[in-house]
Symmetry: C2
Subunit: 451 residues, 2 copies
């Protein structure tokens, strides 16, 4: 296998599947490690197409892989042989497709290959007075191809929308190994079905994105000012969030941390937290002083403005601080309608209690997107089993609240099978029909995102 | 047939297909009138599902229909028997699904049935300090179901995005007659494939949208101020548009009219046009006085602010004014990358000259979306034939410029077959595979949006 693949991508770029670098992702905390028969790093989109054609004609499964920063095991080869192709599995890592093909700052657009990191795009935009607002948690390592595959979000997506909103066109390899382009630099296009949207968020199960045309925006004229306020209860915090919505301001972010997350991370909160703080709301205004003033008023007497870098550096460390409490965690990303947010937050803790687990949550409050988390001690298998049962209950809760089992991380391997809880049988049939239509042999990322 | 259907929807709501009310749309100017064996007006989503089930089990084609304001013949039954179902055609008009199911202004969201007009949604939002920014040309008659089916746009979509950006969930009837829901009031959801996006813009060829959950936004804090400026040439006008992009302001709209459109409609332009005006740019700022000032500066010495209602009433009348020149027109809606806009505008006129036709264009400049139009004298069949040949060239031009044959109107019946010019064979195969997957019998709006 490797000899054949080396002929396509070049000897140095066809690796054995034995290393761990390309067979695990950020879900390694859950012990997820997959098996691959080879790892290839194509240098061009055409090489990706050639690899896919080689695999597709031979019954070899294809696992596309970006930065490997996902939490769902979407970019990890499946850990069980039943979910491999009949003739094995090849990981197709997009790292070397890292060219910016074109950049037209004056036209607010950029064309990038799949392996360009999110941070690189954001930096290039910023250097030219523009903004690429998608800001998932690991922007320095995550790649735009992976952002597209998962339709990634982040705090600023509350105002600016998730990845899909910024993609005007895709180049992708579809079965059985065809390089296609749908959309492009044109901002509006309704000629065909929305295959750009269909591929976005498909987690590599319908094809491999090799390049994208992205929209950009001028950077806001006003500096971003995060305003944070603490509350003694979840209900008071959620009431403040609704007051923000009623203010008429559209904040760039509406984030929250619950009591457990504050217990883990609050110690290093810039300027410290008031005694009795059990809930924190962070809204960022990027529309000028009036907006800042209105946010401060909506968030109440304790609200104060923060220096953005300092505040966001702290916010970026929340996940690590929560992990540090017991050494490990099982973290999900359910989404609920905004009016059910408090129930999701309280419910997360209650589910933890029922399973003898410390639980907390934080996340993108404005989008109703909770990172519901159960703390774990590494190596405690009984506890991990309880956490897995707790997560099942958490998904049931999200669905009971009219929400989703995944707001931004995707189903990947770890949440496979969960969609059937959320969608009716007829909707699931439509989902499966689309998969079969575009991947008749079932070789694109098998076992992932299955209903 | 009608007796059976009357049992589902009630006697008064099962009509014969002989009337013209439901068998033509705004493309009647092109003489397009379809044939239906019956027209039904279901009163509930379940009745829609029952009608589809009845049709699907009998080989009867289903033509979903909103306000009938489309220009592509998408909501018109196909005019030739080959494109009907083997057992005939039923038009399913959504007029009676006109309930607002829920409205939560404080949460910026509304749940509406497919037959609610765009204007009603915009008005309800406005009355509550909110905004529904999608503003297609016939908002008083067009229905949200049709807006979704075509992924409708409008001037303000430059800043705020097209219909898809505002839909968080859909209720729809899929083959063979199943009422499903994907998404809902939750703002972020990546659990399944983006079936919301796939149905949006599918022009009723994959199913029938019966209801939608929509996002809304607070109305901008500042009054909208349109700023317009005239130029002596296309190139100078397009240079002004690029100056606007470079200003750092994100205008709500960037519209243009070329010389021919101004010749038809310029006489009633509020305040009059300067002598020698051959190109008009209209940008609207909704972010306060600084933005207005920057737009005025970017648009140059002739730029001046306008009263919004007066200006937009005039702009809404442009299509009618152009029609009035010769009594008829053939108008398309190609899209091009913004840097190719001038070529699209000049090319439209040149194509007209080559075919002995007066031609002009106007449209959504910021989105590169041209309403390229050939003037016609009603009843002149030779001229109509020349116009049809001109339109083919126009589509070739759009594609040569890296654009699309439809920026916002869709393919419908009139542009069937055009996608194969724009997409590669492999992409077209994916398009067809999706159609077959969701509509295996090919009964949803047959003949429409075919590649």
């Amino acid at each position: 296998m490797r000899t054949d693949l080396a002929r396509i991508v070049g000897e140095p770029y066809a690796l054995p599947g034995t290393g761990t670098e390309y067979t695990q992702d950020a879900s390694i905390a859950m012990g997820l490690r997959g098996h691959a028969d080879a790892v290839v790093l194509p240098g061009t989109a055409q090489e990706v197409a050639d690899v896919v054609a080689w695999c597709y004609s031979r019954g070899v499964a294809i696992v596309p892989r970006g930065g490997g920063t996902g939490y769902s095991g979407g970019a990890t080869p499946a850990p069980v042989p039943e979910a491999a192709g009949p003739e094995g599995t090849v990981v197709v890592a997009l790292d070397r497709l890292d060219r910016i093909r074109s950049f037209d700052p004056g036209l607010w657009r950029i064309e990038v290959e799949a392996g360009v990191t999110t941070q690189t795009i954001a930096r290039r935009a910023r250097e030219n007075g523009l903004m690429f607002p998608v800001d998932p948690g690991a922007a320095e390592a995550s790649q735009i191809g992976g952002n597209i595959a998962t339709n990634a979000g982040g705090p600023h997506c509350f105002k600016y929308g998730v990845t899909r909103a910024w993609v005007t066109g895709l180049e992708a390899v579809l079965a059985p190994g065809e390089l296609v382009r749908v959309g492009g630099p044109t901002r509006k296009d309704v000629a065909g079905y929305d295959l750009v949207g269909l591929l976005t968020g498909s987690e590599g199960t319908l094809g491999i994105v090799t390049a994208a045309w992205l929209r950009l925006l001028p950077a806001p004229a006003h500096a971003a000012v995060p305003v944070a306020a603490a509350y003694p209860t979840v209900d008071e915090g959620c009431a403040a969030i609704e007051a923000v919505l009623a203010s008429g301001v559209v904040p760039a972010t509406i984030e929250y941390l619950d009591a457990g997350a504050l217990a883990a991370a609050g110690g290093s909160f810039p300027g410290g937290l008031p005694t009795g703080a059990q809930f924190l709301v962070i809204c960022e205004a990027d529309g000028g002083e009036d907006e800042v003033r209105e946010l401060v008023e909506a968030l109440g007497p304790d609200a104060r403005a923060h220096e953005p870098r300092e505040l966001w550096r702290w916010r970026d460390g929340v996940g690590i601080a929560v992990t540090a409490v017991q050494g490990g965690k099982l973290s999900e990303d359910i989404g609920v309608p905004l009016d059910r947010l408090a129930e999701g937050i309280v419910g997360t803790v209650e589910i933890g209690i029922r399973h003898g687990l410390e639980a907390c949550s934080w996340g993108h409050a404005g989008d109703g997107n909770l990172h519901s988390t159960f703390l774990l001690t590494p190596g405690d298998h009984a506890q991990l089993e309880r956490a897995e049962a707790a997560v099942e209950e958490l998904f049931d809760l999200a669905i009971a609240l009219g929400g989703t089992v995944s707001g931004e991380h995707g189903l990947g391997w770890l949440k496979r099978g969960q969609l059937s809880k959320q969608w009716s049988p007829a909707a699931v049939r439509a989902h499966s029909a689309v998969k079969t239509a575009l991947d008749p042999a079932g070789l694109f990322n098998p076992g992932k995102k299955t209903p």
